[in-house]
Assembly symmetry: C2
Homo-oligomer: 301 residues x 2
């Protein structure tokens, strides 16, 4: 049985057919056009191409799911708001479903990615997973008790907007001291420029320079890890998920990041003396997590 | 059909028979003896008395559940550690079950209380509830997707140990700046004494004096509410539960506490512009929440 996932992005629309274990069998991709109807048409085309490439007629596909950015109402199949294409209350599930002649699941892309990691990646076989993505912001998703958890209004897991330092750095959300204001790639880069006195930097700059012995870079990295460790420990104390998986560009630092974070958890996790502890791991699926999770949405709601 | 709940406390063992809606039909209570076997015997006696008072023979009771303090393994029916009676790895479910001739459910008392509020109190009929108890510490419990959520190792929802102010007040858990270090009744009382220069105070002192116009008391109350509002907003951003219910002695301030907290949520909740928002309410069942939740454990796991 094959499932079809679509990842709707601002630049590309990617589709993939995946098997029941979440392994990708075929892919298709198209540039994202502007406008609601063209986007729905391109999504339908990408879906057909991915199904054809897998050698399975669309009606024989078990389910079709879409991961979409912005605020989403999965129940009604609507994108409430997506700034990138200025989509407002777009009934994307119906628009795509009409074109494909079948029903379509939709979900916020961060939630879809968490589901992908749970079903086929870092959380495979676990009881529960919380996924944290260090990107432009700090995104989150959770699969609890075998189901995607998104809150009663589908707006939950905004873990980037947990305050870790009251009265601290201003966040785009209007609060002061949010996790995201310290631990997004954006925050890391801005702090790298500030402390290292650089005009240009990316999410690797401080880590690379710290490894080469630069003391200012070390300050940036140590501060970043301390803040990240604090927020992650709070999330562990709240969820005690079997797996806590870290994704996004910054997480590609791998053990250079994970080892000191585990040391913080060993000191501060409220369940540190228990036999069974949350495993902190690197996300396994990279950019494919969202498309795989989207494909398997029907099985985890 | 009746259910039997037992609340194992350091001072008293309370038992109650409740109906399927969580309404208490009969009660029994005994002082808590010292020692494992005497405690199990007293629990069995309280259970028999409550069943007899309800006029239902024990074998006709649908299920028996116990809310216990400390760290608990509900799967194996064990109290790992309870400081009050120095219980360590006590197989309480088996000890009580043997005496009653039937199987027994156990759960941590904060989780049982959350379940009670969900099944029969503030969260009745809702999709999800997060319960926050302002007492000696800041306790938490959550019912998500109709199931009690406790983490894969049953140690989750330690929301008191979410850091809200990095590097801030020391917490009993070893971290600095925990929610609990600012928002427990203990923290409120200690801050009341400090700022108001009092030798004695309780959780009402600052609220009463602030109402009477005392400026130092106002400072204490405003600071307390700001910290509580910050932590609760973070919890809403994480869980977006349909109902967030506030219990414990401090919550008896009612609207004097809830109204300013709702104002903070209206400003800071990430979903503040959405149609469907978390409802912040006062816990409805008081001290009965735990016993009612314990009785109904079998229905929410």
């Amino acid at each position: 049985m094959l499932y079809l996932g679509i990842d709707l992005g601002g630049t590309n629309i990617a589709a993939a057919a995946v098997d029941g274990d979440g392994a990708i069998v075929s892919r298709a991709a198209l540039p994202t056009p502007r406008g609601v109807e063209p986007v729905a048409a391109a999504m339908a085309q990408a879906a057909r191409e991915a199904a054809a490439a897998a050698g399975v007629p669309l009606p024989d596909i078990a389910a079709v799911g879409v991961g979409v950015p912005g605020t989403v109402d999965p129940e009604r199949g609507i994108i409430h708001y997506w700034s990138n294409l200025d989509f407002r209350d777009v009934p994307i599930a119906r628009l795509l479903g009409d074109r494909l002649g079948r029903s379509v699941w939709i979900e916020n892309d961060a939630n879809a990615a968490a589901l992908g990691e749970y079903a086929a990646g870092a959380g495979r076989g676990s009881a529960s997973l919380v996924a944290v993505t260090l990107g432009t912001g700090v995104g989150g998703g959770a699969v609890l008790g075998g189901k995607l958890y998104t809150g009663f209004n589908y707006a939950g897991l905004e873990i980037g907007h947990m305050v870790i330092s009251r009265g601290g750095r201003p966040c785009t959300c209007g609060r002061l001291g949010c996790f995201e204001a310290y631990c997004s790639a954006t925050a890391l880069i801005s702090r790298t420029k500030e402390v290292m006195g650089l005009a240009e930097a990316d999410g690797r700059t401080a880590f690379d320079a710290a490894r080469a012995g630069d003391p200012a870079a070390r300050t940036v990295v140590e501060e970043y890890i301390a803040c990240l460790g604090s927020g992650l420990t709070s999330l562990v104390n709240i969820f005690q998920p079997e797996v806590l998986c870290l994704g996004g560009g910054v997480a590609n630092q791998g053990e250079a990041l994970l080892a000191p974070l585990r040391a913080i958890l060993d000191r501060e996790d409220y369940a540190r003396d228990q036999e069974r502890r949350t495993r902190l791991v690197h996300a396994a699926l990279g950019n494919d997590a969202g498309i795989i999770g989207a494909a398997l949405l029907s099985r985890f709601r």
